[in-house]
């Protein structure tokens, strides 16, 4: 989880308001949903990578994410290659597995391309997340959510949820350590037995988190959470010149790629059908 955590830096992206970066995330989601095309998604990914460069995001920090994504990509191209329902151009076959008219042991070019396209769709969203989370302190995100007139309860659930994610991992790790300290040699267990251990870890983790959440409720109430008074946000949320440039360029590019798709643009449409 540390790979997506905020890193203090002095870049143009860091100085933007969270709303500009939230807009980029929402726009990425919209593009991935409505501009399913190699060229259009590719253009959007290049646009996001340009943000990365400006934000000074270290690509090495995303090593873990990329490993997971490569696994996802392999899964998608294998699955789609063999199962894509409009697959016609056979690249190779592992045998014969006829279900209806389709041989599910045959790997097709269209399936491979479809899997790749879905992966690009994932990339378009995933690549936008570090731009928000690694350049914006959670305090700014919370303040901007408040500015967007979202109920504060919602914002608090969001922020607390984010806060609790590392706590869950930390607690999980600590319970696992405690079991090792009582002579449970987890490191040497075969994989299927490890799964059993993890199940036994889950219960104390949940219990501990339940207990913490009661303390949390007390702490929140004692600090006037839920007071009918209008809440003050410490963070300034006023938009500046850079925010206008970022928001306009984001909306313009997202509108362009979605518009092109809506108007029928397709880079390799003859291969892929939806």
């Amino acid at each position: 989880m540390a790979t997506l955590e905020y890193i203090r830096k002095d870049t143009a992206v860091h100085s933007l308001q969270a709303s500009s970066k939230l807009l980029l995330t929402v726009a990425s989601l919209a593009v991935s949903l409505f501009a399913l095309d190699f060229v259009l998604l590719g253009a959007w990914i290049v646009f996001l990578l340009a943000w990365w460069v400006v934000a000074g995001i270290d690509i090495r920090r995303l090593g873990i994410i990329m490993k997971v994504l490569i696994g996802t990509y392999l899964f998608l191209i294998i699955l789609q290659g063999f199962t894509y329902r409009f697959g016609e151009t056979e690249l190779f076959r592992l045998g014969v597995l006829m279900i209806g008219p389709r041989n599910y042991a045959a790997y097709t070019l269209e399936g491979f391309l479809w899997g790749t396209l879905i992966f690009m769709r994932v990339l378009a969203v995933v690549f936008s997340l570090p731009i928000l989370t690694m350049t914006t302190p959670m305090t700014k995100i919370a303040a901007n959510m408040g500015q967007m007139k979202l109920p504060y309860q919602f914002t608090l659930i969001f922020v607390t949820g984010i806060r609790f994610v590392p706590l869950v991992f930390q607690t999980w790790n600590n319970v696992l350590q405690a079991q090792k300290l009582r002579g449970r040699d987890i490191d040497k267990l075969p994989l299927y037995k490890k799964a059993g251990v993890y199940t036994s870890v889950l219960t104390p983790v949940l219990l501990y988190l339940l207990q913490i959440s009661t303390t949390l409720q007390t702490a929140l109430e004692c600090r006037a959470f839920g007071s009918p008074t209008t809440r003050t946000y410490l963070e300034e949320t006023k938009l500046r010149g850079g925010d206008y440039i970022a928001q306009i360029s984001t909306v313009a590019l997202a509108a362009s790629v979605i518009g092109l798709k809506v108007m029928g643009y397709s880079s390799i449409g003859y291969v892929i059908r939806m």
Partner: protein, 570 residues
Amino acid sequence: MTDVIADIQNLTFAYPDGVEALKDIRLQVSRGEIVAVMGANGAGKTTLCRHLTGIIPHVHQGTTQGKVVVAGMDVYEHPVHELAQKVSFVTQDPEGQLVNPDVLMEVAFGPENLGLPRDEIMRRAKWALQAVGLDGYESRSPMELSGGQKQRLALAAGLSMRPELLVLDEPTSQLDPIGTTEVFEVLGDLRTRYNMTTILTTHAAEDVPSFADRAVVVSKGKMVALGTPREIFAQVDLLDEVGVQVPQLAAIGHRIAPQQPPPLTIEESKKQILNLIQEKKLTPRKANPPRQPMSQGEVVLECVDLTFNYAGYPPVTALRDVNLKVHKGEMIGIVGQNGSGKTTLVKQFLKLLIPTKGKVLFKGRDIKGFTTGELATSIGLVLQNPDEQLFTISCKDEVEFGLRNLKLPEDEIKIRVDEALGFVGLEEQKEFFPFRLSFGDRRSLTVAAVIAMRPEVVIMDEPTTAQDYLGRHRIAKLAKKLNAAGHTVIMITHDMNLVTQYADRTVVMGNGEILLDGPTEKVFTEVETLKKTFIKPPPVSLLARELEPYGIPGDTLTVDSLVDSLKGGS
């Protein structure tokens, strides 16, 4: 007429399971007072705090008789967020109280909810952080802080509300000694500047005389004593009976002149002793029975040039070139300020953390080749937070867990379970669900679970945090007993009274390095070095140094030995 800020009238309360936690409590606290609530674990201190802040009845329910009025508001008639504008509550577990992504936001959270102007919020936040010694940490994530730092932050978050009444439930249980004193000084400062009232529960009896106007002693839900610290600490027999610590100086006074009011400061104690010497009622005697010499037996654990960095941007160095040899049969105390690297060091012994540089040897063999599970059969480590070390449905099962991993026969398991639970005083709670126990008892249970495995080396990381006086000494005595039975024992603690009483050797850590390492008597004479890592010697040690010119051994560390050295010629 006195301005009463908290008025507790005939309060009786029972939790839904029928346990009567408070019985007919009557207490009035005046504006500007600092009142310490003392009592053994389970005496009802936390329940009292919950009433003062409206957590009972609004969050936790039960059966109540009586009335609680705080800052003019009946707690039963006003919601917590309304009470929160007048009363701040800081609970003893900091982990669950910190909800914000950075330190500044944490402290600003309450004032933001009150809708205060931004500059006022910033002013309060900066002031509160400075008050608890966390200025400069504003942008740090609360998750990155040590246990003691988290406790300071939780306190700062309560302070920033600038309440009329501050209710603190064991606010210093995880702090180093000077950190503890600083927090109490802050309370005095708040009273002077803002006439703020504080009611706090504490086991830090040594500090009570220096900050509290009055003290309340509760036992089994009843208020058994109320008065000034001098009045309270004069009742030594009562305090012994209910398991409340008597400060060392008062204990010495009680032993040498029980008819006199108890001395509460070094000056008072020195004056009393010198008067008694002058009156020939006491004669100082130099010779103290020599302590057990430091063992020079087989080296069981050894760190060689050990350096450890926590990953981060930039990485945080927690240990720097640490070299340490632990001999078989030693009883070692490790002390040092919050975040000095104590826990990080002992985690290396079991490969819970892997050294960045250097190595750890167990009986001369690099531990690299062992798993944590294998090492745990020889080295027992009790970690700080008991709630992350309990994972079964009964106390009995909890202790059995490790024994089953050792594949012991059933009859042996039964013997060891009974023995370990008996050691920590939990034999009657054998079938209890661990999370039903009090925090202190949950901690005792984790100790029982580890010692039942009878490891060669036993390491206890802050085993006495949040323990009452009897619990602390019970665990320390247990450690000593294990040591006497041939186990090597290492104990990390902030309780200097325990270290000086029980440890033969003391290792002092600061900023990831070993600052001092030697016989306990010698280490505690290095007052200036100790101060660097927020350690202060116990009062008896400071008193002995003051009395050295009059013939008392300057390296005296315990009440018994000081009294012995006085009684010699009486």
